[in-house]
Subunit: 133 residues, 2 copies
DNA sequence: CCTTGACCTCAAGCTGGCTTGAATTGGCAG
DNA sequence: CTGCCAATTCAAGCCAGCTTGAGGTCAAGG
């Protein structure tokens, strides 16, 4: 198995060396050994970092990402929990879509006050979050 | 205009009083005055808080939310910037959808190693984030 | 053999978004 | 008028997720 120096991993993954060390401390990734002092990583770490970066971008904490995918990159949870995660993601996607529509609306609707525009209020109220106004 | 005590705003919006004071410090919301020491808010603050909460849920910082909607709840940006925001949201939605599909896949695919499953790799590579593996 | 420079460790610091705690104020019920 | 209790201010603390800095090591090139 070809080994990569931490610097090479950093460059190819776009993740800073300090972050890689941090991830290793947390147990999210594992180095394959050392050359002298220097950490060497197997190439599979690049795929794992993709997962981590993707999960982070999706709003999950490192702990949560670690929970979804073990440090080997394999899923770590029973099927139903993975589906539950996916359901949560769908909910988040709905929220985002809502916000996106709200933004498009305020960009295009010429109404003087959006807070009073029924369409806008409807968009807001569609959110699970909305206060009891 | 009916005024609400900060406690009532907290209860109806689900936002803690300390957070409301923090938002006021940041200029995201404005209190309509005081009764003695106590902040009083106009009812429109509830709608503004919906926007703030929605924006936060969508992964935006308070500064960014403040930039999208002014402290009056009105959009603060020119149309094209609002559309740019909406485009960014769409990109984020695609990332989330990707992750969701990846999770569903690993939940259902019986392959021994997902890192080697072509479908899974394809899902990952579809992400803008993926390293040059 | 010696220098170079990328890596190492460990502790401390930083940002965002609040929460907590101590000490104080003041509207309102009795 | 008294006392309660929720609200006030201000500083400090907390968590996540890193980054930065000081001081040290070592593999490879000249």
């Amino acid at each position: 198995m070809k080994l990569l120096d931490i610097g090479e991993v950093a460059e190819r993954s776009g993740v800073a060396p300090s972050a890689l060390r941090y991830y290793e401390d947390l147990g999210l990734i594992t180095s394959a050994g050392r050359k002298g002092l220097r950490r060497q990583f197997g190439v599979e770490v690049l795929l794992q970092l993709s997962l981590i970066t993707l999960g982070k971008a999706a709003g999950f904490s490192l702990q949560e990402v670690a929970g979804m995918f073990g440090k080997d990159g394999q899923p770590d949870l029973p099927r139903d929990q993975l589906h539950a995660r996916a359901d949560a993601l769908e909910a988040q996607i709905r929220e985002l879509t809502l916000l996106k529509d709200a933004l498009r609306h305020v960009a295009d609707c010429p109404a003087p006050s959006h807070l009073e525009c029924p369409k806008f209020q409807k968009l807001l109220r569609a959110g699970s979050i909305t206060a009891e106004v």
